[in-house]
């Protein structure tokens, strides 16, 4: 099936771009490849889970969050000399060991997992809406209260810093 191959290609690009994103020294490159990663995930969601979730992924992550990242990087405007010396070899050594451990963990956890059929997994926007506002309405409201608290907290913290 051709769509399966498209999904596989998107998955490979997503993993590669994620790897590139965490290995670049210049944060703006990390942001660009993170954006590529978001787009690929959006594609996978569109084909695998639901076009609605895919579109939301692209709006929220590629549209808003990526721009915020890039904006923050631009305001700091780090040059190479600001980034400090490269990490020491010992740190790198342990990082590689930790990475291997994480990959091994992921493989063991997902070993017996068979992905559900593509058709079975297509969820419409109406279904998402019903799930959010009927079955999971309490969790939905709690999350929104939590987010509002976070926003208020951020404003309070920012204000304090300004007065000092």
């Amino acid at each position: 099936m051709i769509v399966e191959w498209v999904i596989r290609a998107l998955g490979i690009i997503a993993v590669l771009s994620a790897l590139v994103a965490i290995t670049r020294r210049n944060p703006i490159y990390s942001a660009v490849f993170l954006g590529l990663n978001f787009l690929c995930l959006g594609g996978i969601f569109t084909f695998y889970v639901s076009p609605f979730v895919g579109a939301v992924q692209i709006i929220v992550y590629a549209g808003a969050i990526l721009v915020l990242f890039v904006l923050a990087i631009m305001i700091l405007n780090l040059r190479d000399e600001d980034l400090g010396p490269s990490r020491r070899t010992v740190v790198k050594f342990f990082a590689v060991i930790a990475a291997i451990g994480v990959v091994w963990l992921i493989i063991t956890i997902t070993a017996g997992f068979v992905p559900p059929g593509r058709e079975a997994g297509t969820i419409s926007a109406a279904q998402v809406g019903r799930a959010l506002l009927e079955a999971h309405v309490v969790a939905f409201e709690v999350i929104s209260v939590l987010l509002i608290t976070a926003v208020v907290g951020a404003v309070v913290l920012a204000k304090k810093r300004m007065e000092v």
Binding site: G35, L39, F52, I59, A62, G63, A64, V70, M74
Partner: protein, 363 residues
């Protein structure tokens, strides 16, 4: 898209390749249309500017200067493609593609005539919002990659502006979605037909949707970086903002992106609020299928291009806002109004069971 795939299938091409060939062909057709429109739009824009400022406008190439846009296009293609030595080469190169792709992809999801969308999808409206969101990173990266004070400032302003105006824009667009009960653009347009003529258009559905149209159009102007919201490129303070270091075909990408965005915002406004390809008397009078489709396509394009013309008219009439005024307009005016309208429209839908003013009066 489906029809094309079937056509290739009937010609003996396997469906696997058929999809690719159909997608490629469709992309070429849409790109040709978009480029043609963008070319002619630059000519019309200059003529409109000339008329409003009591000048003649372009009048040298071809009769009444009608071939000016071709000459401009050839010039942009042939000019030297210059990359500043201090610029970040990779970022500088890829940024225009983000902008162009973001303004070109939505063309695939426009409802052109009855039950015809080039690439049919259930979430057409959301898809258009999603892919146009890719323009913002492009502009920001262009500003950063140029390594130039003005470009950087232009890029930052643009990021702030686009993120701010995306919110009232999307909230206002939720109101037709609420009335029609679907994200499918074709179904949204079809819901605006039937008896009652233009009174069935969603702009006349209820007072809230009437105001939502203007909120959407205003926020849309800002999304396109058009005057009075063209602060990212403000010539008098930022030279040309994020595009200051760009020349030749890379500059043309930004320019075409702006005109593409104008078309998309106008097309969305005409499809979601002004009835898309609906016009009274077409349905009962025209019985031949293909003629109807052609007429409907003409109606949709006419409505869209008229709105584009309004955008040009606004550009040459109003002065630009100040940065703080721009932010205030979005967060303190447009967004609260849009949220209020959304709540009002939701209440209206519940109280009157989704009926518009026309339905309530006539019965």
């Amino acid at each position: 898209m489906d029809q094309l795939t079937k056509l290739f299938y009937s010609l003996g091409l396997s469906p696997y390749y058929g999809i690719f060939v159909a997608a490629f062909l469709l992309a070429v057709i849409i790109l040709a249309f978009a480029l043609l429109y963008e070319g002619v739009a630059t000519y019309v824009e200059r003529k409109v500017a000339g008329d409003i400022q009591s000048r003649i406008g372009p009048n040298r190439v071809g009769p009444y200067g009608t071939l000016q846009w071709l000459a401009d296009g050839v010039k942009l293609f042939l000019k030297e493609d210059f990359i500043p030595a201090q610029a970040d080469k990779l970022i500088f190169r890829i940024a225009p593609y983000f902008v162009f792709v973001g303004s070109f992809l939505p063309f695939a999801a426009l409802p052109l005539w009855d039950r015809f969308v080039p690439v049919p999808m259930n979430i057409g409206l959301l898809y258009i919002i999603a892919v146009t969101a890719m323009v913002t990173p492009g502009i920001v990266l262009a500003g950063w990659g140029s390594n130039n004070k003005w470009a950087l400032l232009g890029g930052m302003r643009s990021a702030a502006q686009l993120i701010s105006y995306e919110v009232p824009n999307a909230v206002a667009l939720l109101i037709p979605v609420l009335i029609a009960g679907t994200l499918n653009l074709d179904e949204i347009v079809r819901a605006q037909g039937g008896g009652g003529g233009i009174l069935r258009w969603f702009i006349f559905h209820d007072p809230f949707s009437f105001m939502a149209f203007f909120i959407f159009f205003t926020a849309g102007l800002a999304e396109c970086n058009r005057t009075p919201f063209d602060l990212p490129e403000a010539e008098s303070e930022l030279v040309a903002g994020y595009s200051v270091e760009y020349s030749a075909i890379r500059y043309a990408f930004f320019y075409m992106g702006e005109y593409g965005d104008m078309f998309i915002i106008s097309a969305m406004a005409s499809a979601a609020f002004l009835g898309g390809w609906q016009l009274p008397l077409i349905d009962p009078l025209v019985k031949i299928g293909w003629l109807k489709a052609v007429l409907q396509l003409g109606i949709f394009l006419t409505k869209t291009l008229l709105l584009v013309l309004v955008m040009m008219w606004i550009r040459w009439t109003f002065p630009r806002l100040r940065v703080d005024q721009l932010m205030e307009l979005s967060w303190k005016r447009l967004l609260p109004i849009a949220l209020f309208l959304l709540m009002g429209a939701a209440l209206w839908t519940v109280v009157f069971h989704g009926k518009g003013i026309y339905d309530l009066i006539v019965g």
